[in-house]
């Protein structure tokens, strides 16, 4: 099993490297180059050359890639094009905010989804199960901005329970921060819960139909005990997989929710940078997001390996 784990880790590192190449290459695919894209209509041969020199675009791409990657790994994320400020400190603050939001949403979503999935699987076919299925289907189909929008209208505007915009600053109390986080977190939660619940339910139903579950029933074991002691250990691995994969999905969902609620996180930062064609910022943020995503996927695989009884106790 150790062998398998090491191989997966190696694969993860390799993937990260490949990802960095792709993100860097993604910005190289312009028929013109970044300089002409930035200047747009006002491009003249002189200022194009000037920008190229300043950005070091006249050097070969491999060289620039290695320099970029090297700087990144040391914590230097470069300079933003708009305002010429170092990127790293700006990202630091915003990354913290994003992680806080994602964490808050995960803490609500994961236990809720797993419990609902378990209950729906046990009560398979009943009205409860079917109702949940339809509700989650709707939740998956609703874009985050719609859900966010409805929540804003209902909760913030009409009921005035919570603020509609979420500006976090350092001098807020814990409760103030929390009240700001609630709406965006709930929005994020709704869609993720729907996905996770459906997959949990499917995994549990799959296990409940196994012959060894029937065997346990034939031995006269109580139903709840069958579920907890026989089904659960086997459903752990697929559920862990589902949860971690959805956390990865969360990373993406966070971007849109931040824009909806004007939340100062990395997602909004990146989107703003895209509108302004601020390529260094986009590269840096893109790589960070991708790293988190790859890291979570790798964790999912590794936990799966650890939870597999056949691998834990080989012949």
């Amino acid at each position: 099993m150790l062998n398998l784990l090491l191989r997966r880790l190696a694969l993860g590192v390799l993937t990260l490297w490949a990802v960095s190449v792709i993100i860097f290459a993604g910005t190289e695919i312009l028929p013109g180059d970044v300089a002409t894209a930035i200047l747009g209509q006002s491009a003249t041969p002189e200022n194009t050359a000037a920008i190229r020199l300043k950005l070091g675009l006249n050097r070969p791409p491999q060289e620039r890639y290695i320099e970029w990657l090297g700087d990144f790994l040391q914590g230097d994320l470069g300079m933003s094009l708009s305002g010429q400020k170092p990127i790293a400190p700006q990202v630091g603050f915003r990354l913290g905010n994003t992680l806080m939001l994602a964490f808050f949403a995960a803490v609500i979503a994961v236990p809720l989804a797993i419990t609902l999935g378990l209950v729906a699987a046990i009560k398979q076919g009943t009205v409860f199960d079917r109702a949940i299925s339809i509700l989650t289907l709707c939740a998956i189909s609703l874009p985050e901005y719609l859900v966010g929008g409805i929540l804003v209208v209902v909760v913030a505007v009409n009921l005035r329970w919570l603020p509609s915009l979420s500006n976090v600053s350092d001098d807020m109390t814990f409760w103030q921060v929390l009240s700001i986080l609630i709406l965006p977190a709930v929005t994020l939660t709704l869609v993720t819960v729907a996905h996770m619940m459906r997959m949990t339910r499917a995994a549990v139903i799959g296990v409940m139909n196994s012959p060894y579950i029937e065997m346990a029933q034939l031995k006269g074991i109580r139903n709840w005990r069958v579920v907890v002691q026989h089904a659960l250990p086997n459903v752990l691995s697929p559920i862990i997989n589902v949860v971690v994969l959805n956390l990865a999905y969360l990373v993406v969902g966070v971007v849109i929710v931040e824009v909806v609620f004007v939340y100062p996180g990395m997602g909004k930062f990146m989107v703003d940078a895209v509108s302004k064609r601020d390529v260094p910022v986009v590269q840096a943020c893109g790589l960070i997001f991708a790293m988190i995503y790859v890291g979570l996927n790798m964790t999912a695989d590794i936990l799966s390996i650890l939870a597999n009884p056949r691998l834990r106790h080989p012949k």
Binding site: N209, S210, Y212, M215, G220, I221, Q229
Partner: protein
Amino acid sequence: MSDLLLEMRKLRVEARGADGATNRIVNDVDLKLERGEVLGLIGESGAGKSTIGLAAMAFARTGCRITGGQVIFDGTDLMTQDEETLREMRGVRAAYIAQSAAASFNPAKRLNDQVCEVAIRHGVMSEQDAVKRAVELYGKLHLPDPDSIGRRYPHQVSGGQLQRVMSAMAMTCGPDLLILDEPTTALDVTTQIEVLATVRDLIRQNNNASLYITHDLAVVAQIADRIMVLRDGEMVEEGPTDKILNDPDEAYTKELVSARQAVVKPRIQVALPEHPVVAIKNVTASYDGRVDVLKKIDVVIGKGETVAIVGESGSGKSTLARVVTGLLPPREGHVEFNGKPLSAALRQRSKDDLRRIQMIYQMPDVAMNPRQSVAEIIGRPLTFYFGLTGQKRDRRVIELLAQIDMDPVFAERLPGQLSGGQKQRVCIARALAAEPDIIICDEVTSALDQVVAAGILKLLDRLQKATDIAYMFITHDLGIVKNIADRTVVMYQGDVVEQGSTVDIFTPPQKEDYTRKLIASVPEMRTDWLDEVLRERGDLFDIDAKVPA
């Protein structure tokens, strides 16, 4: 305490199919079982035997419901009891031994946890006592390392051993009733006899009443006092074992009993053919280049003869077929066809060579494209090899259908609209259409019910007599080999252990130990077979079961 342990009156069970329709899978069945008695439930697939077995505990699988009748267990009608009472008696007063041990054990828990669970959860024994009892049973069932085997996980133990652990699990609380559902069907024949003997021994010692469910009459004859024959959810006949085997009343029972004797070739010695159709010479083959699955195999098959390739799982018999068809080029050696060497790889063979070697598979459901009609399936080889099209092709398709005893109306049907036996017949017609010299039959009857399989064997025999086709008949079922093969090749783990005329191979004493063991394990349709084998050839097996005087 009356002697009657279990009585079922007019039992009815319904199932809800995938499309929502319900049909009755058990229809008004009556059954009586006395204490200490073993009743065999015999039938083909779909007969409802498993369902009846489960109903003895008032249990129905997901999608099924017991809709009528009474199940009287030791004086109480289980159908009137609530779920809690039923739950309490399951595992304690009645226990179930499933067909597949591998699937019935939770892969995430140790064996002892699952075996002792019954006694502990029902409050019958303390944990320590339960473990002691389990170890005792492991010993009685001749499991290796009875003290420590319980600490293993299911995947760390072999199939035959797992089946015995499951038997131990069922016996822990000393149930009055044991329900054994095809307990040896999934095992190799040499393992089957060991499990059969030890389980029978244990049942006799503990005097459990048992329902022994199986489709194999020869196996059930060794252990049952009475036999009930079921078909499509209804009882056909019931009586003492001897009577059912030797003097049955019903036509269907007679068919079942004689199914194994469908084709019987004369038991004579057959010489090796001088001009073989297929000659496998010194073939060594491997899938990954490291482990040899076939080792220096030499086999010849002559025109118009049937050569059976037999072996248990892992013997390499299917691999041999892949080498002959060109799907797996051998590492060493070659195959000759009508005297000339064949290209090792499929891609390099001529169309004519490909045409003359045909193959029929084990599962007719996946051997035919579900979206093509019977006419298209049979017709394609006609077009591909002979260029037949249009009316000429249609006429030939109808001719072939007649040869396999099927009406022309079947030409437009899809495989999904045919029964199991009909599907296999169409596969035979597809092979025939190419007018081959040899047909490789890879376990062609293993997935079919015995009566249907008998029909297929008769058809193959008839076709051979008419067209002089040779058959390379691969199977693990020695019972049919005895009757249909001219010569037999016995394989074990990639080697040819012994080969020769069938009559030589099957008449003891054989040359090789393994052959002796293999042939001795094949159950015969008489009640004293098991005792005789244990008495006379017990040295071949690893059993310590007591033989009744």
